[in-house]
Every structure is written in C-alpha cells, then in structure tokens.
C-alpha cells in the first residue's frame, strides 16, 4: 500500500544521504506540511468511517518510523545535540546577547603604554618618578639658576619654599599630565644617538615614512638643546591643516645632558655624556588619534572614551 511504499522510499533516500543538510530536505518531503505522509494523513478523513481508524494508525506509525530513521541518521552524521541552548522559555536565537557596554582603557593610558613599549624595545627601562619634588632637584640640580627667568618657562606650583610640583621638561606638554622622559648616559653618547632614538620612536608611533628634524632651542638642563619636529603624518610634509601648513609638527624637547646636571649627580662630564628628552603623552595621543581638544582627556566623557 501507499504507506509502505512511502516508508520504503524514505529508507532508501536516508541510507543514500551523506550530508546532514540534506536531512531537512528529506524531512520536509515526507513530514512537512506538503509532505507525502502528511497528504496521506489528510486523506484519512475522506475514507469511509470504518476504515479511518486503521488507516490513521498506519500513517501515524509510518510517521514515527520516519522520524526515528531521521533521528538515527542525524546522529550518525554528527552535529547532533541534546538539551536546550537557550534559557527556559526563550526560543528566539536572534535576541541580543549583550547590551553594548564594554569596559576599556583610557586612551591616554593606551598611548602611554604604546610609547613605553617602543622605548622598551629601544633598550630603555621604565621608572616612575615622584610628582612632588624638592625644589633643588627640580631646579638647581637641573641647572636652573636661582631667580632666573628660565624658571618661568613652565608653570611652577609651590607647596613650600623648598617643595614644589615637578615641572614638565618639554614645552609641548600640558601641566600635570603624564609625560615620558628619556635619559641615556654613558661614555661617548652623542647627539646622533639621540636623533636615532627620536626618529625610531616617531617611525614606530606614526609610521615608517616619518622623518624628524631638530631645531636649536634652550633648556637649562641640556646643552646643546633642541626641539624635535616630525614630518606631518597627514601630508608627509607638504603642508596641510593638521600641521598648520608647516609640514612639521613639534613633538618633543631634547638635548645633550648639561654638564652641571651630570655634576649634580657626581658624573664626570669629561668622561660621561648623555641625552634627555621629554614627550607629552597627551600631545602624542592628540596627534595619533586626531583629538583636537586636550580637555577631552580629563573630561572622561564616556562618549569620548568609548571611541577608542
């Protein structure tokens, strides 16, 4: 009869099936809304009343048999699962799994770390310094004479006559934000070594085509002193809005450690030489990420912080 033939046909198709994706096609063909077994089941109601129970039972038995065959085949083909994958009462797998809020590091921290990593790669060790400092170390030891206008180069915040907040080494820095200061002292350290490190840093930070230039400048604690510019990363030096049409962007102050500074820590400047530089993390972050208002960093508006 029809039922047996349908079961037989399903068996043959299933045994020939080698791909789990085809199982759905087979399931629909026999058990779907327009499937052949479903059609038979529908036809039962048209039979004479006496024949209906037997016919119905036969079709249902066939349906069970095909479902079992399908399950068995599905299991043998792999990819099967048991148990629920969704919470109780939930059946829509397209529901959102999170509410879109993720934590993150502050952009200044990320840039700071990137800088530290670059300098570590260049052979530097990382050390933290105090923020509140004796005036002696901030000024005299760094070769600022007493009562000298060079002390006006930075804002100085005093706590007592002798104690102050450490001032910034580089004029491009904003008061009291993180800065990276580099120091390298040894025999035979030259300005060429300094320029090398500055150039390698800028290339690493802003791309391999970055060039640098040094302009003479004045800092009490270095001699010779320089301000370092890098070629504009946006226009490669041809001049654009970002670099104020200069082609160059000032990024740090640097120079060869002043002999008086070496003497203050009992290094013989006849034997040792060294270089120092200071870079504002905020400055680098602004350039690298196109931040045009420095107040955004300390504003901590999450709509800003979440952009990075």
């Amino acid at each position: 009869m029809d039922v047996d033939r349908i079961v037989q046909s399903a068996k043959e198709e299933l045994s020939a099936c080698t791909d789990a994706h085809d199982l759905d096609t087979i399931r629909i063909k026999y058990l779907g809304r327009k499937g052949s077994l479903t059609a038979l089941l529908r036809a039962v109601k048209d039979l004479p009343p006496a024949e209906r129970p037997a016919a119905g039972a036969a079709v249902n038995a066939a349906k069970l048999q095909i479902e079992e065959l399908l399950s068995a085949k599905e299991a043998s083909l792999g990819g099967a699962r048991s148990g629920s994958v969704m919470p109780e009462g939930v059946s829509d797998p397209t529901l959102p799994a999170h509410d879109g809020i993720a934590g993150r590091r502050h952009i200044l921290s990320r840039v700071f770390r990137e800088m530290k990593n670059i300098f570590r790669g260049l052979g530097y060790s990382i050390a933290h310094g105090p923020d509140v400092e004796l005036e002696y170390y901030n000024f005299q030891a760094l070769n600022f004479p007493e009562e000298h206008p060079s002390r006006d180069l930075q804002d100085t915040f005093y706590i007592t006559d002798d104690i102050l907040l450490r001032t910034q080494t580089s004029p491009v820095q904003v008061r009291f934000m993180d800065q990276v200061e580099g120091l390298y002292v040894d025999t035979d350290v030259t300005m060429a070594d300094l320029k090398k490190d500055v150039e390698l840093f800028t290339r690493e930070m802003f791309g391999p085509n970055t060039r640098i230039r040094f302009r003479p400048h004045f800092f009490p604690f270095t001699e010779p002193s320089a301000e370092a510019d890098m070629s504009c990363f946006a226009c490669q030096g041809s001049g654009c809005a970002i670099c104020g049409h200069a082609g160059w962007i000032e990024i740090m102050g640097a120079g060869m450690v002043h002999p008086n500074v070496l003497r203050a820590v009992e290094y013989d400047p006849e034997v040792y030489s060294g270089f120092a530089f200071g870079i504002g993390v905020d400055r680098i972050a602004m350039l690298k990420h196109g931040v045009n208002d420095i107040r955004l960093f300390l504003g901590n508006d999450l709509r800003f912080l979440e952009q990075f």
Partner: protein, 799 residues
C-alpha cells in the same frame, strides 16, 4: 621679541624670501613663532592736497572736497571727517586702492554726490588708533607721492621666541649678528662718537651705593633739547615692533633699546632735586609714583635711582612721574646702566610690573655696551631734537674679567658625533663674536664676547658649533649604538595588568586631575586621624577648585560620574589608578605619594537588560570585583585580609594588620547629596602599592593532581547572627588538609526551614595528593566538621 625686517636690513643683508629667512632662523635656534606683513603696499594711496571744502547739499555732516592728487589732476571726494580743511596735505585712497583693512575703494555716490576716492584716517591706513578724523600730514609733499614712501614702507615683522638664556637676541643688532653668522656675511650697526663739552665741575653728583647692585652706570647731561613729535621713520620703526611713539626723546631711548638691547632712561634734569643721582636700595616705606600711573611702596629689597630727596625711578624697571620728560623739558639727564638681574627680577615680581627694560635686565644685560648705547642715543638726540651733550660720567665698578675657554675639538666628536678641526670651529664661531686662536688642530682658545653670558663651558661652545653647523646635518650615516633594556619595572606592569583586567570586567578607565578643591574630608566623614585629611596645599593654584593635591581619587571620579549622568549615561562602571599625596603628620619633608586604585559602579533602578532583569548594583557587585581582581593576581583577599563591615555606613574594609588596604561600599548620603546623585553609587578604593606587595609576581608551577576528587554537598541551617565568614572559617579549619575547595551554591530563607534561620547549600571538594580518598575517610571528616559547627556556632544539618 618683534623684529622689523626693514630695520634689520639696515645692518645686514637678508634673503629676499621671508619663508627662507624664517626657516633658516628657526633652524639656527631663533624660533620664529609668526610673521606678518605691515605697511602700505598699494601705490594708489597717495599724497593729495585739499583745495576746497564745501558743504554737502543733502547731509549736514558731510563735506564735498576738491582734492589735488597730482599736479594735473583733481578729484571730487565726499568726506565725513570734522577736521578736513582746505590747504591740508592728506592721504588719498584713489579708485581701486586696497586698504590694509581689506576695503577696496570704488567710485560711489553718496547722497547724490559722486565721490572719486577717500581721504584716509590713521586707522584706515593701519596706523595708530586715531579714528576721530582724517590724517593730516605735516609739511609739504609732492602731490601723487605714494604714502608708503613717506609714512610706512612695506615691512615684514617677525615674532621671535627668544629663550631666557639669550638676552643678546633682544635687539635688532643681536639678530643681525646671528643673521650674519648664519649666512657667513658681515653686519654693521651705526657707531656714534659724541664730542662732549668739557666742564670744570660735574653738574650732577653720581653715587653708586653698591657695585654688585649696579655694576655700571653711564650718565650724561644733554642741554637744550626740543621735545616734540618724532619723525615718521622713527615713530614707524617703533610701532613696527609694538612700541607706541610718545615723543622724540622717549622714542630715541626706546629706539636704541630695540637697536642694541640696552635700556635707557631720560630724566628731566631740572626736576632732579639737589643735583644728585644716587643708585641705592630703597628705604622701607619709601614711595614712588611711576610712569604707569601706579604708586609703589618700596622696601630695602628694591633698587632705586634717587635724587637728594627720594626715589625717582625703579632701577631697570620704570621711571618716576615727577622726573619724566614732558613737552616743556629742555635739559636731560640720560641714564644708561647695568643692574643686577636678580635684583631687577625680584623687585619687578614683588611689585607686579613688567617692562621692556626689566625684561632685558633680568635676563642679564651686556655691561660693556653702556657707553656705546649712550653715545648712540645722544647722537640721535642731536640729530632729531638738538641739544648739547655734557661730560660723560661712567662709574664701572663691576668690570668683568674676559672669559677665555680652552676648547678641545674632540668634544665636538664626543657630543655631536661629527669630526671638526680647530679651523672649522673658528670659522663657525667667529661670526658670532667668539675670537678663536688655535695652537694645533685639537685645541682652540676661545674668548667669549661679553654679551654671551650663557656660554660658560665646553658644552655651550658645542651648542654654538652645532647651531652653526646645522642640527640637520648631525647623525647622518647613523653611527650609533644599541642598548638592551635593563629590565621591567614590576609595579608598572602590575598596574597595567590590573587596569586591563578591570577593562575586561567592564570598567572604563578614567584619568582625572591631581588637584582637588579640598572639601571632601568632611563630606566623606573621614575620621580625624585618617591620613587622607593630611592635605598638601598649593600656594599658587590657578583656580580655587585646584587648591590641594588629592588624597583620594574619589572626588575627581565622582565629578566624572556627575558629568556623565548629565549626559544621560546612567550605567557607569569606571576605574582609575593614580597617585594620591598624603602630607606627613608633622607637615615637613616630601609628602607620601601613594598609588591608589578606585572602582565605581552605579546603575539606576530599572536599567534592565532582558537577560539580567531586575538586577541592581549592590554591595556584592563591588565586593566581587575587589576579590576577583585579587584572585587574578594571586592575592586571596577574602582569606588573607581582615574583613570588617559597618552596618551603619554600609561600608566594608579589608585590612592587613592595622593598615586598611581596601575600603568599599555605598557612597554615603551626604556625598551623594553633594553630587546630586539620584541613584546609588558603589565604590571601592584600594591601596594599589599595598596590593602589589601582597601579590605573587612570579608564581612557581605546582604538579597537577594525580588522584580523583571527592565531592560532598551539605545543607546547613544557620541561626540569625551567625555569618558565612564564621561558618567558612570553621569549615576550612576542620576539613583539614584534604579540603580542596568549597563553594556556597545556595542561600535560602523561607517556609521550608524555621523562621529566623537561613539554609546554606555548600559543595565541598576533597582531594589528597598521594592517594584516592575513601568514602569512610570523607565521612569521618564530615562528621567532625558538623559536630564542630554544632558546638561552635549552633549550626545544624538540614533534615
């Protein structure tokens, strides 16, 4: 420092291209911050003469003028100025002329009368401030001459950033010298020689109290000057560099200052009482009414110029009103001196004044130039204002030894990485005024000019060489070395890792200012002996909200919360690691700088997500984050630190011995109200450096377990008043060494157990590292644990 290119060109040739010049100056260390064009470029602004002035037929305030603009041509011009009159020589902008303010003159019809140009005012020509009427030219001129030729030739003004070590660049002569050196050219500044009329007795008695306060003083009388307006070239030169023209005498002294860098001052001789000029410290309480209109009360810290009766000027800073040169002045006493930089600086800072003169003196003026500058000014007086110079008085108590340095050329190689011989060094330095002699190619004897006080030793010489050689040329060929990092700063790594961990836990890192307004101590209710009350005050804060160094990160972070709430961001999990600054209890020495880590969690009620409905932030959220962070870094905060909870405040603390390591809980009502929070804010503040000491930086590997785990579940009924901490302690102690872990998986109160009790469901895992545990072994441990719980804490097994 403003430099006029026209002025500079009188002393030294400069490149035609301003851009080239600006670049070359900048690369030699004279950073040009900006430059701008000045003056009248348009030849269509010419000298005209007003021939007739008639009233405008339709406007009361307008005149219709006939103006000759060349010998052959006249124009009809409508003019609104009240001071226009026939016979005047005036500047006329012809049709098509472009004015400095951007206006282009067109033929217009003004109330029915055609106007063929404009008679210009000072402001319209970009000169001065006088907008009341048209500019009337003194003297007679050839009609049609471009005004630029008479008044203001086209110029470029550079704004130089002069660093404080280079006072020698605060003059056109100084910049000319650098320019000459950059281009290997020569420069020349006019030298004046003045024939003094000899006199039998000095007409002024000059007294210098201290050669240290006043190393040199050159004074001179000039009699019979005629005070009046300056010639156009002089007024224009000064205006180009930002100095207003006052009268010919004042302008000449200002001109010499801008030319040579030496400030000068003219006194009205008649007003100097007692025929004496005394350079001395002020007496406490002396008063000076100065030229700026202010009256200053002086002390013995201040250096003054005085006459017999009292101070007449603040030395090196500003002159006094009573002795000022005025229209009626005929005889001058001209001062050209050198004052001690520190003294000038201290005085002008104490009195809150800053002048062009003090700016130069406090940076250190060149005492060698005083006589030359005096002569130059006197010669200009004679040329412009007439007058007869008297005998020069030159008191030079602080003459300096010439500075000579023996410079080894190896220094150039050692510091710059380039090879230069003695001849190269001399060639680079000579144009800057350094006299070089060399015995051999390795050693140069360099005598340092008096105006270069900044050059004190070999490294300074190296900088001069580097500047002239070109910073750009250093380091070519990359003859440099390699270094390997000496190691890792462990705390820095720890902090980065902690912040990364918190970021992945959903916290956003903030960075806030190190300053506070200082009102937090009372708001937070910190106890009297809390170290956070030992604030460090800033003596000179920029704003009152930044008067103290922070002793807690919370105030700054709560500001962040407030600002974000205002922006509609209501769910905030933020964290910050930063230093706080705790004063020593005795207030002396450097403060303690302590690294703190602070977490804040806040979320409004009803801010739900479908997967996590009705879950508000509570104490356990903040406690979880604290303990999890510890776990991540191998600090068992729960077991190793002493935990205490204050029911009243809703705060917990974790302490090690007596030191509080972590404080957390809910923000108190007072602070919440201060910040106007309408949702609960939970926080924890941690001693990050303390945690670092407690953490295991470099853990050692342990063998993985070889024998199976044995698990037991217990359900305990606990009477109220007994805490989990007590139960856990008892469990840990009595399970002994076989205990691997225990977990509280259920807390139940309700109908199933007696009222006033809580049921704890606990999973315990046992393991031995040398054998498989038997059921009997575990049973006996459990029996012991239960009987101890019963005895110690009245805890029963749930039936």
């Amino acid at each position: 420092m403003l430099i006029s290119m026209n002025w500079l060109k009188r002393y030294v040739p400069v490149p035609d291209s301003v851009e080239t010049f600006v670049h070359d100056l900048t690369m030699a260390g004279l950073n040009v911050e900006t430059w701008r064009e000045r003056g009248l470029r348009d030849p269509n602004i010419v000298v005209g003469r007003v021939l007739e002035v008639a009233k405008h037929p339709d406007a009361d305030r307008l005149s219709v003028c006939r103006v000759a603009v060349s010998e052959a041509e006249t124009k009809r011009i409508v003019c609104g100025a009240p001071n226009v009159a026939a016979g005047q020589f005036v500047p006329v902008a012809l049709i098509g002329a472009a004015l400095p303010n951007g206006l282009t003159i067109k033929k217009t019809r003004i109330r029915g009368v055609d106007s063929e140009g404009m008679i210009c005012s000072d402001i319209e020509l970009g000169m001065g401030q006088d907008a009341k009427g048209i500019m009337v030219l003194d003297g007679e001129y050839v009609l049609g001459t471009p005004i630029a030729d008479i008044l203001m030739p086209p110029d470029v003004v550079l704004e130089l950033e002069v660093t404080p070590n280079r006072p020698d660049l605060l003059s056109h002569a100084g910049v000319a010298r650098e320019t000459a050196a950059i281009y290997q050219k020569t420069f020349a500044v006019p030298e004046a020689t003045v024939e003094s009329a000899a006199s039998d007795k000095p007409e002024v008695r000059l007294e210098i109290e201290s050669g240290s306060d006043c190393p040199r003083y050159v004074g001179r009388i000039v009699r019979g000057v005629k005070v009046g307006p300056s010639p156009a070239w002089l007024a224009n030169s000064l205006e180009a560099v930002g100095i207003n023209s006052i009268n010919n005498i004042v302008d000449i002294t200002n001109f010499v200052m801008m030319e040579l860098g030496q400030p000068l001052h003219s006194f009205d001789l008649k007003k100097l009482r007692g025929g004496a000029v005394i350079v001395r410290r002020a007496f406490d309480g002396e008063i000076l009414a100065a030229l700026d209109g202010e009256t200053y009360e002086l002390t013995k810290e201040h250096l003054v110029i005085a006459d017999e009766k009292g101070p007449v000027a603040l030395a090196g800073i500003i002159g006094g009103n009573d002795t000022a040169v005025t229209a009626g002045t005929a005889d001058l006493f001209l001062e050209c001196a050198c004052f001690h930089p520190t003294l000038v600086r201290r005085t002008r800072k104490a009195l809150g004044i800053s002048t062009e003169a003090s700016y130069r003196f406090e940076r250190g003026s060149d005492r060698e130039i005083c006589r030359k500058a005096s002569d130059r000014a006197v010669a200009l007086f004679q040329e412009i204002a007439g007058g007869t110079p008297g005998e020069v008085l030159d008191v030079y108590k602080g003459e300096l030894e010439p500075r000579v340095l023996d410079f080894e050329t190896i220094e150039v190689r050692r510091l710059l990485g380039i090879n230069l011989g003695a001849a190269d060094v001399a060639r680079l330095l000579a144009p800057l005024g350094f006299a070089c002699t060399s015995k051999d190619s390795d050693l140069v004897r360099i005598s340092v000019p008096s105006y270069r006080a900044d050059v004190a030793e070999e490294a300074d010489i190296v900088e001069e060489i580097a500047r002239m050689y070109g910073y750009d040329r250093i380091g070519k060929g990359w003859d440099y070395r390699c270094t390997v990092s000496a190691g890792v700063e462990h705390f820095d790594e720890f902090m980065e890792a902690v912040l990364d961990h918190l970021a992945s836990r959903g916290f956003t890192e903030t960075i806030t200012s190190s300053f506070n307004e200082g009102s937090e101590a009372d708001a937070f209710g910190w106890p009297a002996d809390d170290p956070r009350r030992e604030r460090i005050a800033i003596r000179n804060p920029l704003v009152s909200t930044q008067r103290f160094m922070r002793t807690s990160l919370l105030p700054g972070m709560l500001d962040v919360v407030r600002r974000n709430l205002d922006q509609g961001l209501k769910r905030l999990y933020i964290c910050q690691a930063g230093k706080v600054f705790l004063g020593r209890p005795d207030g002396r020495g450097l403060p303690e700088e302590r690294w703190i880590l602070t977490l804040i969690m806040t979320k409004p009620q009803g801010d739900d997500f479908w997967l996590n409905m009705n879950k508000d932030v509570d104490l356990f959220d903040i406690k979880r984050e604290v303990e999890l962070m510890g776990r991540r870094f191998k600090i068992d905060i729960w077991h190793d630190f002493h935990y205490a909870f204050q029911k009243k405040t809703g705060m917990f603390t974790y302490a090690v011995r007596d030191r509080t390591m972590i404080e957390g809980g809910i923000l108190n009502d007072a602070v919440s109200a201060k910040y106007d929070f309408d949702q609960p804010v939970f926080y924890a503040e941690m001693d990050l450096a303390g945690l670092f000491k407690a953490c295991l930086i470099s853990p050692r590997a342990k063998p993985l377990p070889e024998y199976p785990v044995s698990k037991r579940d217990l359900s305990l009924v606990v009477k109220s008043g007994i805490t989990w901490q007590e139960i856990e302690k008892s469990l840990v102690k009595n399970c002994g060494g076989l205990l691997e872990s225990l977990k509280l998986f259920d807390v139940y109160t309700g109908d199933q157990i007696p009222s006033g009790t809580t049921a704890y469901g606990i999973k315990i895992q046992f393991r031995a590292n040398d054998r498989t545990l038997t059921d009997a072994e575990i049973d006996s441990v459990i029996d012991k644990v239960l009987s101890k719980l019963k005895n110690e804490l009245d805890v029963e097994l749930r039936s």
